[in-house]
């Protein structure tokens, strides 16, 4: 066991954890941030996607000891009121069905739009390839990302 000071969603958290414990389980079981989901445990499905310094990573295979001082953003950190542009676009396109993978999908989409505010379908395919949705919401995810990109160009868009 070791002590870690983690920067999550702009706040500082102290945890005692096995250095090998993946960030996913630190978030879920130790900090009760359950918006980040367990899906496969081997970086295959993207349900556990969070940001480290703004980049989308799979928290199920990232040991807590490797996080260091990097800033973690989870779904809970996007907004307190669903006002983030990508959340708004997801609502407008009625993307979620069961919803379990959607927090990971949204975190991947936010990271994509941050580095590429005008993604093509192909850019979306590449960036979202690591996120599985068993309900098959993919066509709506594609529409929602395009919509978010369009919304970002119209102030006052929040987020980013």
């Amino acid at each position: 066991m070791a002590s870690y000071k983690l920067s999550i969603n702009g706040s500082s958290f102290s945890v005692e954890a096995d250095p090998k414990m993946p960030l996913l389980w630190v978030l879920r079981d130790l900090l009760n941030l359950t918006g980040t989901k367990y899906g496969c445990g081997m970086s295959q499905c993207g349900a556990c996607t969070v940001h480290l310094n703004g980049n989308a990573i799979r928290s199920c295979t990232m040991p807590v000891s490797a996080v260091g001082t990097q800033k973690i953003t989870t779904i809970e950190g996007l907004s307190t009121d669903n006002s983030h542009t990508v959340q708004q676009a997801w609502i407008a396109e009625q993307v979620p069905q069961c919803g379990y993978c959607q927090t990971g999908q949204i975190m991947s989409a936010v990271a994509l739009l941050k580095r590429n505010p005008n993604p093509t379908d192909r850019d979306i395919d590449m960036a979202m390839q690591g996120n599985i949705c068993r309900c098959g919401t993919y066509p709506r995810i594609r529409k929602a990302i395009h919509k978010a990109a369009a919304m970002m160009k119209q102030p006052p868009a929040k987020g980013f």
Binding site: R28, C45, S79, Q97, T103, R134
Partner: protein, 720 residues
């Protein structure tokens, strides 16, 4: 599984009449914040609203709470149930908060969420539930004003006295209304007067699902709750011979190591539970466990042998049920004969939320939480197994991260309850992805032998035999001589009116592989055989595939779907060998026609250019949810047709995680065009019927383009 709780789908669907669901007065539910999807339980119920019946309560500020008695696994019951009740109650959904009802069949009627039955099974009851409460509120207002009831009407959460335009809000009326006797007869609104039903209203669960606040089973936390994983026999039905937990007990965070079992139909699967203070500690400790399994008799089970057996089985006459005319004689004399064998794989449900359950079992009561498709069934099951009176068993549904039939089974809930009972603490049992993918129950694979005789371009004789595991035969004491009438699931019924000589039979395959409903159940495999074969018959008869169907599906709903497909696709002006395929199936009282267009890319690989679906589900509640369900059904069908299957070797499932069970990704899925037919038919299912026609439509399109007939799923799109 006990016999009396056998999973006979039809028995459950029969239970879905709500005659037993009496309206109760005076049962209190909490009023809930709009952003909180709380679970109403006896322990959390507070006197914050006054109940007008089992589904509806209203607080004094006029906030309405509606219970959804069915599970929400993506298919939209959380929207459809309140949308129906609110329509007749005359409130907008902005005034409503929704929560899940606990398992309680006497109060809510059948709660098993399967067979696409929420709307089609409960619509009349739910409409009457809303209307009954509305009439009680109107009567209360009339009483307060001392005016005739028929001078009053309800609108937008208020009762209005027409002559004077006096108004009283529901919050001001609910107490008085709750003292009234519910009317025995109510008049339901005409369809053309609907404000909510039939409109694509945004789902009430969407805001919760874009910010992590929707509570899934995996997210449930209780004070003092421990976390468990279970090492279950990797071989089907294996038993624990011995185990060594000495290393496990030294691992950090480990609290208990105990032997457990879970019911798997008429047998049990044994395992060793590792209970720790967090999920990951339990998973790590599990790696240090040594178990010797007794797998006698199951080690030689493998896919190739199983399908070889099915092939042999198809030579048997089987158990016949649906026959008409004289197939053999007509087939023998037919001017053209067509025969084909189709093969479909076993599949995992692969819900994104792996199976899990939180249980808190005390001496005299038990409460569980989880992604549960049948809370009332599980309540009865736990009462039996724990020997605790049913009214002391509380079963709470969380949101489900997918269900597809898997989470209607009672194995995981029983196992969690037994662990909690043994360790005397609340516990969350988490199945790893590997557990979820390898333990089953699975969709059964099937082989079909189809034969038909054609005379003058018409189908004169039609026969189908199916070799597959029979789900019903798994139950203790099941009659294994009974015909699996699921063989005609998916088949458009009107074929049997236009084909004079037909025969359907099934040969039940014996296997210890546990099998269970998987989205659209037998239709998911039957549809592939039937609608691929019809396409083969069209080719043999030298008829256009839509024209052949038009000649045999003499039913106005089918004909309308054929016309619609023809119109949307520009069918008549399509080029020769343009890569178009169609299929039409019937599933859970809905009819769906799908058309697919494929082409070859520069690199020679196949690409899906267009997917068109026409859904006829009769009377419907929310068209946007219907479109989403058809889209999702098509993606799930695409996976089962082209990218994944569950195979078995040495008595074990081969595919353990998503690197082997390869699900469609965003790049595999084009946009889709979904159309809903408008008619006055009764409601049909929505969550499943879009799945069966996709695989045959795709394969028929590939045949149209390439001349290559695909009769075995899954196939690789890149290798056609």
């Amino acid at each position: 599984m006990q016999q009396k709780h056998s999973i006979d789908r039809r028995a459950f669907l029969k239970l879905s009449s709500f005659t037993g669901a009496a309206l109760t007065i005076g049962f209190y539910f909490p009023a809930l914040g709009r952003e909180t999807a709380a679970i109403v339980t006896a322990s959390t119920a507070e006197n914050l609203g006054i109940a007008l019946n089992a589904f509806i309560s209203i607080d004094k500020n006029g906030s309405v709470s509606i219970l959804n008695h069915r599970s929400e696994m993506g298919q939209g019951s959380y929207q459809a149930v309140p949308q129906m009740i609110a329509e007749e109650l005359e409130v907008s959904l902005d005034q409503v908060s929704i929560s899940f009802a606990p398992g309680h069949q006497n109060k809510y009627g059948n709660q098993i969420t399967g067979g696409s039955s929420t709307v089609r099974g409960a619509w009349k009851h739910l409409l009457r539930t809303g209307a009954t409460a509305r009439e009680m509120l109107i009567e209360a207002a009339a009483k307060i004003w001392s005016v005739p009831k028929d001078e009053c009407y309800a609108q937008n959460g208020e009762v209005i006295h027409r002559p004077s335009n006096k108004k009283l809000g529901y919050g001001e009326l609910v107490e008085e209304a709750s003292k009234l006797t519910p009317p025995k007869q109510v008049v339901l609104k005409e369809r053309k007067k609907y404000n909510l039903i039939g409109k694509p209203l945004p789902r009430q669960d969407t805001p919760l699902k874009v910010n992590g606040r929707a509570e899934f089973g995996m997210d449930k936390k209780l004070p003092g709750m421990l976390y468990a994983v279970v090492e279950r026999s990797p071989h089907f039905l294996g038993k624990v011979k011995s185990y060594d937990d000495s290393a496990v007990k030294k691992m950090p965070g480990v609290k208990h190591v105990i032997k457990v079992h879970m019911p798997v139909f008429n047998t049990v699967r044994e395992g060793i539970a590792i209970v720790a203070d967090n999920t990951w500690a339990a998973m790590q400790a599990r790696k240090a466990l040594k178990v010797e399994w007794d797998t006698t008799g199951f080690e030689h089970l493998d896919t190739a042998a199983l399908y070889n057996r099915m092939k042999e089985d198809l030579k048997k006459p089987g158990l016949s049920q649906r026959t008409g005319g004289n197939f053999e004689a007509t087939f023998a004399k037919a001017s053209k004969k067509v025969e084909a064998v189709y093969e479909t794989p076993y599949e995992a449900h692969a819900c994104m939320e792996p199976v899990n359950c939180v249980a808190d079992v005390k001496e005299d009561r038990a409460e569980i939480w989880g992604p549960i498709q049948g809370p009332d069934w599980i309540q009865r099951d736990l009462a039996d197994r724990l020997k605790i009176p049913i009214d002391k068993i509380t079963v709470n549904m969380t949101f489900l991260g997918g269900g597809f039939g898997r989470k209607a089974f009672t194995d995981y809930t029983t196992e969690a309850a037994l662990i909690s009972k043994e360790i005397k603490a609340p516990v969350q049992v988490v199945w790893t992805r590997e557990d979820d993918m390898t333990q089953g129950p699975f969709r059964p694979g099937a082989m079909y032998e189809c034969k038909a005789g054609l005379n003058n371009g018409r189908i004169a004789a039609f026969q189908t035999k199916m070799a597959a595991q029979n789900m019903g035969h798994q139950n203790p004491g099941a009659d294994k001589t009974s015909f699996n009438d699921s063989i005609t699931e998916g088949l458009p019924e009107p074929y049997l009116n236009s084909i004079d000589h037909y025969s359907f039979s099934d040969i039940p395959t014996e296997s210890p592989i546990p099998v269970m409903w998987w989205r659209s159940v037998y239709s998911s495999t039957n549809g592939f055989a039937y609608e691929s074969f019809i396409d083969e018959l069209a080719v043999a008869a030298e008829k256009d595939p839509l024209d052949l169907r038009r000649a045999h599906l003499r039913d106005e709903r089918y004909l309308a779907i054929i016309d619609k497909l023809e119109e949307i696709t520009g069918w008549k002006s399509r080029g020769k060998n343009s890569g178009w395929g169609v299929a039409i199936t019937e599933c859970f009282k809905s009819i769906v026609g799908e058309a697919v267009k494929v082409s070859k890319q520069a690199d020679g690989k196949l690409k899906i250019d267009r997917i068109v679906a026409v859904m006829d589900c009769g009377w419907y509640v929310n068209p946007d949810i219907i479109k989403a369900q058809v889209e999702g059904s098509i993606v799930m069908a695409l996976g089962a047709a082209t990218t994944h299957a569950t195979n078995f070797t040495d008595g074990k499932a081969v595919e353990t995680n998503f690197h082997q069970y390869r699900m469609p990704r965003i790049s595999d899925v084009p946009d889709m065009e979904i159309y809903i037919m408008e008619n006055e038919e009764k409601p049909g299912g929505v969550g499943e019927p879009g799945l069966p026609p996709f695989a045959p439509a795709l394969c028929n399109a590939i045949f149209d383009l390439t001349g290559k007939r695909i009769r075995k799923l899954p196939f690789n799109m890149n290798e056609v």
